[in-house]
Symmetry: C2
Subunit: 198 residues, 2 copies
């Protein structure tokens, strides 16, 4: 039996994914919310975690670090080719499995079994997006500036929080707008968010 835990922030979709995985009798499936605490000491170790990428790396999510610190098993991340930022961060974070949310259900079951054996599973439809994600043109600094700005922080606050001058922040933003081919700051934020980068 492969002990599998589904992590999704919406209970309805969490139950739906659990039910889908239970159609394979070789999987023992439970679930939890992303923000739920550490597993009990008595709990059996998890073989595979199945996690919605938006719950870990989507806008406004803060579960990333704590979740990854507590997971004792292997990780299958659900996402789409339209979110190269989430793909890239999941891949860099050591996720063995990357499954397209647009794949048929049996692909997810195959992914769980593959990752349970310690092998990598990558949906073909995601590999191009993953490679494109590798070519993310922004520097870490430019991304942090845009990311803070996207949360509604005024320039002065972005500057203060990153210990930069306002002129430098403005330069980072101008560079970011140019690099992602945006028409203005709002457009640059939209492009980064829809790609799953902030």
């Amino acid at each position: 039996m492969v002990r599998t835990v589904v992590v999704h922030d919406e209970e309805l979709l969490r139950s739906a994914l659990v039910q889908l995985l239970r159609s394979d009798a070789a999987l023992e499936v439970s679930s939890r919310a992303p923000g739920a605490g550490l597993p009990d000491r008595d709990e059996l170790p998890t073989d595979v975690w199945v996690v919605d990428g938006d719950c870990l790396w989507g806008p406004g999510q803060t579960h990333d670090t704590s979740f990854r610190a507590q997971r004792g098993g292997r990780l299958v991340v659900l996402t789409t080719a339209r979110r190269p930022g989430i793909l890239r961060r999941a891949f860099d974070g050591g996720a063995l499995g990357l499954v397209d949310k647009n794949a048929p259900a049996r692909r997810l079951i195959t992914a769980v079994h593959t990752v349970a054996k310690g092998e990598r599973f990558l949906d073909e439809t995601l590999s191009v997006a993953l490679l494109e994600g590798a070519a993310m043109p922004l520097t870490t600094r430019e991304l942090s500036v845009l990311s803070l700005a996207s949360q509604g922080a005024p320039l002065a606050e972005v500057a203060a929080r990153l210990h930069l001058s306002r002129g430098t922040v403005r330069n980072y933003i101008a560079a970011a707008i140019r690099k992602v081919g945006a028409r203005n700051r709002v457009d640059a934020i939209r492009i980064l968010q829809s790609g799953g980068w902030t």
Copy 2:
């Protein structure tokens, strides 16, 4: 038998919801993508549509009108209390059922049966959000201006597309920022998007 069709833009979650609904033997469940064409003439009429609210009214979605024009049955919309804009638009659009994505799975099944009888189903957790949504402070004009701006259109283009002067567009934006309690334009867009209003 209640003929139920699940509409979700991601195949994996679509299958998962279908499987969940099939646990009730009194439901005959199929599914389709939001952008799929009209049902075949020979197809039996649908009793209840189960639709993810983000697929119809989420950012960048254009299925709203065509989907609603073609649906021959009754509508159950899945959403959360954090998206009063989607709740409000679903309610105003005539959806009989509003189910919280954080509700247990059996609530969805109850909702489908209730709506199939032509009765209204509203999750308690959503009713407060729906009432708050009624108090949306922006005028339609202010919302259109912010909505176009959120797609990255520069002020001049927003003005041209809405046949307004640039000064008027600036005034609408200033009023919107003040009314939603935002710190600037980016913050106002963030607030409206996270509430499901644009």
